[in-house]
Each structure stands twice: as structure tokens, then as C-alpha cells.
Symmetry: C2
Subunit: 292 residues, 2 copies
């Protein structure tokens, strides 16, 4: 498949998962004010997690994406809720997100807390409602996703981040939990839904672990050299906040080398998988080269 | 069954659901700091929701409570997370809860937000992991619970509360969403897990709706006349905060009358159910007569 085919496919995954999320929120009897705050934050974003989930699913299954879509939507709702809560004054205190004011700037802190809660709740509800169609793999995929989102994954990582990290080892652990866990879960859940074998599940997991780390390395690099217009949030904030990042610990040159190595490791894992993983390969390269 | 039998049973339900929650949190690989904040808040409390769920389950099934327990634990974790978030400065700003400092007073706002998120996440995870044992009723019960906890139930009600209520009609809607929905879901989920018929599900739902309203009426009454030592939080706070309550709108005398009528309606619904609902009947009377 060509690079053009990849971008087209990436946009397609983004469009259908966004559409599913918006339809889902609109079709419930959600209280109007909460619905509005939820819808505000689910728009925009790169949709990397749905792309990973749907891309992994498609590597193993030629079935319609319909069975995988509720899980892709759920994982993006979880990601979105985490951004809303992380942006709160008591957490990272960020005023801008996805190119517009953060949820609490737009609606106030109380409503932003509730919007986050409601998105996490809706994610679980959405998966539970769609378990029957997805069968036993659906249940396994949901557990993988919720585990990664919880206190042994993403939430635990945010707690480590708040407590403060200082060494490379602490930073790597924090990244692997805060962003890595959910990225890995996206790929593994997609592969499980697609009917991968036990061995393939392991390779996809290892691939996604490297991809998640590469994503974070790239994020740190972009914070010192990226374009804030493309990123939808201010750059240079890590340095301004005296935040420990891979760049602050290793310097730009070493960090760029680490990015290449990590992306290489990710692709190496994919080569162990028999299925056609072209989309996941291209996704790894896309992350490596992204500008924002 | 005697009143003594009821108290014993109530304490038993409380003990096993608390034990399940604590074991559940301890047995996961949760990040230490988050685990601590979660465990801090799940202790104490009346365990009314697990009692409703397990009581309704036992009305319809003589099976071991083991299949229902993960759902009882989940609903209490959801209730606990909602208290942690509601107590935050941006929300109700309450410093005391369950007889001790609120989560954010003890651990700080950021950790309290994460503790709440982690409990909601754990609740969903706990149900998902235990769906297989509970079969199709388990899936239905989980959806009932998550729906009631979300933006068309509890979260929606908290949003209405923040926006402010002024009339009896607004107040009743807010109560039915903020506390009523999850109480109703507890009873209905328990009945569904116990294998109730479609008709019985409706009666149990109507019973629990009245019970939930009675609970809230009693809460408003206790805020003006209760013992803060028994309640584990300050009394008189509604009046101090100029909060609209049933008492502030109707006066104590009318409110007491409304409580009796509502409890009567609840018991009337139970009489339509063929199963032995003695525990639920006693629970309604217990709420009617509670001192804190």
C-alpha cells in the first residue's frame, strides 16, 4: 500500500470513530449541559488510539469494522476524559487543548470534572452495550482497555507525573503508564477483536509499547521544536514548567537517536506477525515524522 | 423475619461488599499512591446500594451471593467516587465525609480527582471481569448500573445541582437523577441478577424510585434535625449554604408527611412482587426511621 493509501485510511478511521462518538453522545438521554461539555472536547485530536485499534483489527480480520468501532470510540472517549481532567488547575493547569480553550476554561471547573467523569462512564457503557455482538473477544478487549486506563495504567501514570519524576528510569515508567498503557491497549484490543492468535497478541503488544514510547519521545522533541499552530497547544511549556523530559535529560541529539531506535524496534516486532500489518507500519513511520 | 434478623443481614451485606472492594483494590497492580487514596474513601458509609442490590438479588434467588457481589462492589465504588468528586472545592466544597476529612483535604485536589477517576474505572473493570460468571443478566445489570451512573443519571443530576434548583419540580428531577437513579439501579440490577421476571423488574424499579426519593427527603430532614456525629458530616449545611431542599420549600411538617407517604408507596410496590421481599421492606422502614 502507498503512503497516500495510508493517509486516506487514517482519515477514514478518524472520521468513522468521531462520527460514532458524536452519534453515541447525541443518541443518549444525557442532561443537556453535560452533553454540550462532552461534545465540545471530543472534537479535534489526532484519533491515534482509534487508528491503532482499527488498524490492528484490520490486520487480522476482513470483517466489517462495525464490531470494533464501539471499542475504538470508547478508547478515544477515555483519552479525551483524561485530557480534560489533566488540564484542570489542580493538575497540569493547561488553558489550551486541541486548538481551543480547555474544557474548564470554556465551561468552568465543576462542569469540566463532570464532563470527564461522563466520558469515562460513557466509554464503559458503550463497550458493555456492544459486548454481545463482539462475543468473548469483546469482553477481553474491554478488560484490556479498562485495565490500561485505570490505576495500574494511565491514572497511575498521571499520579506519578504529579508526584514528580527526575531520573530516566522514573520518566520511562511514568510515560509507559500515562500514555503507553492506553496506546498499547488500543493495538492489543484491536488485534484481539480481530481474532489474532496468542503469540500475535504478544508481538502486537510489544510493537505498541515501542510505538507508545516513540510517540512520547516525539512529543518531547516537538515541545522544544514543534509548531504550536499544528499541535493545538503551546510549545516550550515543558521547559517553562521545569518539567523533566527525555530532551531535558538526554539532549536533542540523543533523543532523536533514541526515537529512531525505538521506531526501529517497533517495526521489528511487526515483522514477526504473519498478518498484513502495512497500516500499523505506516502509522509508526507517520508518528516518527509528524510535525505536530 | 424479625427486625434483629434485618440488622444482622444488613451488616452482613455491608461486611461482604466492603471486604470485596478492599480485596479487589489490593489485588490489582494499582500505583501505590492511587491505591492509598482509593482505600481511604471506600471505608465507612452505610453501604445502602450494596444492601439494595444484594437484598433484591436474594429476593429472587437462593444462589450464593458470589455472582452478585462484584456488581454490589462496583456500585459502591461508583457511589464513593461521586462523593469524592462532589466534595471537591469546585463542586460542593465539603471538608468532611464519612466522619473524616474529605479525600482532597487528606491528599490534595489532584490526587482526589484521580482517586475518583480510578474508582469509577475500577467499578467498570470489576463488572467486566465478572460478566462471564453472571451470564447475560450480568451484562444487563452492568448496563443498568453504568446508565444510571452517567450523564442521564447521577452525573446529570450533579450538573443540575451545580446549575441550581429553585422549584419543587426542579428539585425532584435533580434528586431523582443525582441520588435516585443509582439507588434504583442497585435494586433493579440485583433483581435482574437474581432472575426476576420482566413484570417484577418494573415493580422493583418503582419501589426503588420511591425508596430513593424517601431517602433524599429523610436526608433533608436530618440536615435540619439530625446528629452530625451519627451522620459523619456537619448538619445545617443546607440552610447555611442557602440550598433549596424539600424542607426549605415545604417546611418540616409537610416534609415529614411526604416521607411517610413516599415510604408507603414504596411498600405498596413491593406487595405486587410474588417473591419474598422482607429485607427490602425492612430496608425501607429502616431508612424512614434512621437517625443519621
Amino acid at each position: 500500500m502507498s503512503r497516500e493509501g495510508f493517509i486516506e485510511r487514517l482519515e477514514y478511521f478518524s472520521t468513522i470513530s468521531t462520527g460514532f462518538i458524536i452519534d453515541y453522545i447525541n443518541s443518549r438521554g444525557f442532561e443537556t449541559a453535560v452533553k454540550e461539555t462532552m461534545l465540545y472536547s471530543v472534537q479535534g485530536g489526532k484519533r491515534l488510539r482509534p487508528a491503532l485499534l482499527l488498524g490492528a483489527f484490520s490486520s487480522f480480520s476482513n470483517d466489517s469494522l462495525a464490531a470494533a468501532l464501539p471499542f475504538a470510540a470508547a478508547i478515544e472517549m477515555i483519552h479525551t476524559y483524561s485530557l480534560i481532567h489533566d488540564d484542570l488547575p489542580a493538575m497540569d493547569d493547561d488553558d489550551m487543548r486541541r486548538g481551543k480553550p480547555s474544557n474548564h476554561i470554556q465551561f468552568g471547573e465543576a462542569e469540566a470534572i463532570l464532563a470527564g467523569d461522563a466520558l469515562l462512564n460513557a466509554a464503559a457503557e458503550c463497550m458493555l452495550e456492544n459486548l454481545v455482538d463482539a462475543g468473548e473477544p469483546g469482553q477481553r478487549a474491554s478488560v484490556i482497555i479498562m485495565k490500561a486506563a485505570g490505576a495500574e495504567g494511565m491514572i497511575g501514570g498521571q499520579s506519578l507525573d504529579i508526584a514528580g519524576v527526575h531520573t530516566k528510569q522514573q520518566l520511562k515508567k511514568m510515560y509507559s503508564m500515562k500514555t503507553g498503557a492506553l496506546l498499547k491497549a488500543s493495538a492489543v484490543a484491536g488485534a484481539v477483536l480481530g481474532g489474532c492468535s496468542h503469540g500475535e497478541e504478544k508481538y502486537i503488544g510489544d510493537f505498541a509499547e515501542h510505538l507508545g514510547f516513540a510517540f512520547q519521545i516525539k512529543d518531547d522533541l516537538l515541545d522544544v521544536s514543534g509548531d504550536s499552530g499544528i499541535m493545538g497547544k503551546p510549545t516550550g511549556s515543558d521547559e517553562g514548567n521545569n518539567k523533566t523530559t527525555i530532551v531535558s535529560l538526554s539532549g536533542i541529539h540523543e533523543t532523536e537517536k533514541l526515537l529512531d531506535e525505538t521506531a526501529g524496534e517497533a517495526l521489528k516486532e511487526l515483522r514477526k506477525v504473519e498478518a498484513d500489518t502495512w497500516f500499523l507500519q505506516e502509522l509508526m513511520k507517520f508518528i516518527d515524522q509528524r510535525k505536530g
